[in-house]
């Protein structure tokens, strides 16, 4: 084992002894000084998770959150030098973390918070030009065979719990006592100019958005949404996407998949 392997392993595992080969000018125990590195690494990772997951932290309390984040960080150090998305898999960890099972909606709230981070940093793509859309609307039959490419920040987070209301209550826009966590909710996350926005959406709209993102034509996406939700109203859904400026362009080809295979 080379020296950096020993150093790195001991940084992440506090049970391991201080690595060998370290010296100090005054003959003091190098373990105390090595602990500074160990602490720097762990605190920076826990702080990164706390930045990304403020509502998860509020739901369980700071002390519990930091202890939980430490367990996660020790087992899951970053795999990327870009720290913005560190802990993108924190929700899966939370779902399987026994001490957190008393808060069953924690993992889905975490998914919502990570979606907000992704939306914040998503690529900048301008919305469709109104003229382009007007031309398409004059030929409704062609329109239905088109694919709608949505803004890269758009994400749908569905949960058997009231994740939107729980999240909103922690933004001070809803009173937490009015929230029934057992109510299923679906949230739409997207960026509006420079701000990330989060809305509660119906099952039909969530199926519609996901179908569009999977590359289905407008006709097929509307069909998928209607069969999941008899209340689904295509013109209402399109109006919402247009009003929020989430349609980037129209295309006859499946752009979501053409570059990925």
């Amino acid at each position: 084992m080379n020296s950096q392997t020993a150093f790195a392993n001991a940084l992440l595992d506090p049970e391991l002894p201080c690595p060998g080969g370290l010296t100090t000018w005054n003959g003091s125990d190098p373990a105390t000084r090595f602990a500074v590195y160990r602490n720097n690494v762990m605190v920076s990772l826990i702080d990164a998770l706390a930045d990304t997951y403020p509502v998860v932290q509020e739901l369980v309390g700071e002390e519990f959150f930091r202890a939980m984040a430490r367990v996660f960080a020790q087992a899951n150090p970053p795999r990327s030098r870009v720290m913005a998305y560190y802990g993108h898999d924190f929700a899966d960890f939370l779902a399987a973390f026994p001490p957190a099972t008393s808060v069953p909606y924690l993992a889905d709230v975490a998914r919502l918070e990570m979606a907000r981070v992704r939306a914040y940093h998503a690529a900048d793509v301008p919305p469709i030009q109104p003229e382009t859309l007007q031309v398409a609307l004059t030929k409704p039959e062609q329109l239905m065979s088109l694919r709608l490419v949505l803004h890269p920040s758009v994400q749908v987070i569905a949960s058997p719990f009231a994740i939107f209301s729980l999240w909103a209550a922690h933004q001070g826009v809803l009173c937490i006592s009015s929230v029934d966590p057992e109510q299923a909710q679906t949230a739409l996350v997207f960026r509006d100019a420079l701000d990330v926005d989060t809305l509660e959406i119906t099952v039909g709209i969530s199926k519609f958005v996901r179908a569009l993102q999977s590359g289905l034509t407008l006709f097929d996406a509307a069909g998928a949404a209607s069969s999941a939700d008899p209340e689904f109203d295509l013109s209402h859904a399109l109006a919402m996407l247009l009003r929020l400026q989430l349609i980037s362009h129209l295309t006859t080809t499946d752009e979501y998949h053409e570059h990925t295979h």
Binding site: T23, N26, S44, R81, A84
Partner: protein
């Protein structure tokens, strides 16, 4: 082997476009809007490269607008130049794209490592100074400069331990890296102070042992303090406090040797309101202004520092 980056005047893009010899501040998202609204009179801004390796959104929106008005330094924290593994080509490509997009006046990285296997450890970790690590660091810098097509600055670290395997002192090691790889030095004066206290060294002698003729930027920051196992002071490079008086004194001493150099106020934790950081930067800016009034660069003193470097190189060769 001749290195095409050996002379600063030959460095691609460096001669025509360098950071002004003024004070700059680390750019934080908390301050984007106030900076654009008030357009403070400041020399440059510096950002951490990895924070901007995201597709779009507010970070790029604001940095683009700030870059239109100010000089920029891009400072990497994730390249892991001191790692005993190969550099990550994907990361080098991401850096190249970022530099192409923002055309910064300076690019710098650290004499440290931060990755191991697939893990990124998110800290600047120390390495022993010996012939093997010297070769590796020089090879990596050569690769970085070739890949990016520009000269880079390498920053001296703040460290808490030393290695039995070290055979060079830090100043001689950095002098040799700069000489062989043809990079410049980002002299972090706070790191010199922190490491000097932590390892019982003379900070002024350490400054003198650095390759001062190749300093392209200075960093100033605050530290935290604790005690080691013997009860001796152990300083932590926290970037979470104002610059200490001892570091301001060492900075003045350093400027006396180098002449005016672009100087960054780093603050990454407990970030204060923008006017507080600006006021701290103005303390450095005033000293730089006074120096510029006196002389562009004190040539005689530089000669002296070069002589000291030559002596330290010779001393090392005799010792080796």
């Amino acid at each position: 082997m001749p290195n095409r980056f050996n002379s600063p005047t030959q460095a691609l893009g460096a001669a025509a476009d360098t950071l002004p010899t003024r004070a700059g501040v680390g750019l934080k998202p908390e301050h984007y809007q106030e900076i654009l609204a008030t357009q403070p009179n400041i020399g440059f801004f510096e950002v951490h490269a990895e924070n901007y390796m995201v597709p779009g959104g507010p970070f790029h929106h604001y940095l683009t607008r700030i870059r239109e008005r100010y000089a920029l330094s891009i400072h990497g924290v994730g390249l892991s130049i001191g790692a005993d593994a190969s550099l990550d080509i994907e990361h080098l490509n991401a850096l190249a794209a970022l530099l192409a997009r923002y055309q910064p006046q300076s690019f710098s990285e650290h004499l440290a490592w931060s990755t191991h296997g697939p893990a990124f450890l998110n800290d600047l970790l120390p390495l022993p100074y010996n012939t093997a690590t010297l070769q590796r660091v020089c090879d990596h810098i050569d690769q970085v400069q070739s890949h990016l097509g520009r000269r880079m600055l390498l920053e001296n670290p703040a460290t808490y331990v030393e290695f039995a395997a070290s055979t060079w002192d830090e100043g001689a090691f950095l002098t040799e890296v700069v000489r062989r790889a043809g990079c410049g030095l980002l002299l972090d004066v706070n790191n010199v102070h922190v490491s000097s206290v932590n390892h019982g060294r003379d900070a002024h002698a350490t400054i003198r042992s650095m390759p001062l003729a190749q300093v392209g930027e200075i960093h100033l920051a605050g530290f935290a303090q604790q005690l080691d196992a013997n009860g001796d002071l152990l300083l932590i490079d926290s970037h979470g406090a104002p610059v200490a008086q001892a570091v301001w004194d060492l900075y003045a001493f350093t400027l006396g040797l180098t002449g005016p150099v672009a100087t960054l106020l780093e603050r990454d934790n407990d970030i204060p309101a923008w006017p507080v950081l600006l006021a701290e930067a103005n303390v450095a800016d005033r000293q730089l202004w006074e120096l510029r009034q006196r002389d562009e660069r004190p040539a005689k003193v530089l000669d002296a520092s070069q002589q000291i470097q030559n002596v330290s190189t010779v001393t090392h060769e005799v010792a080796a």
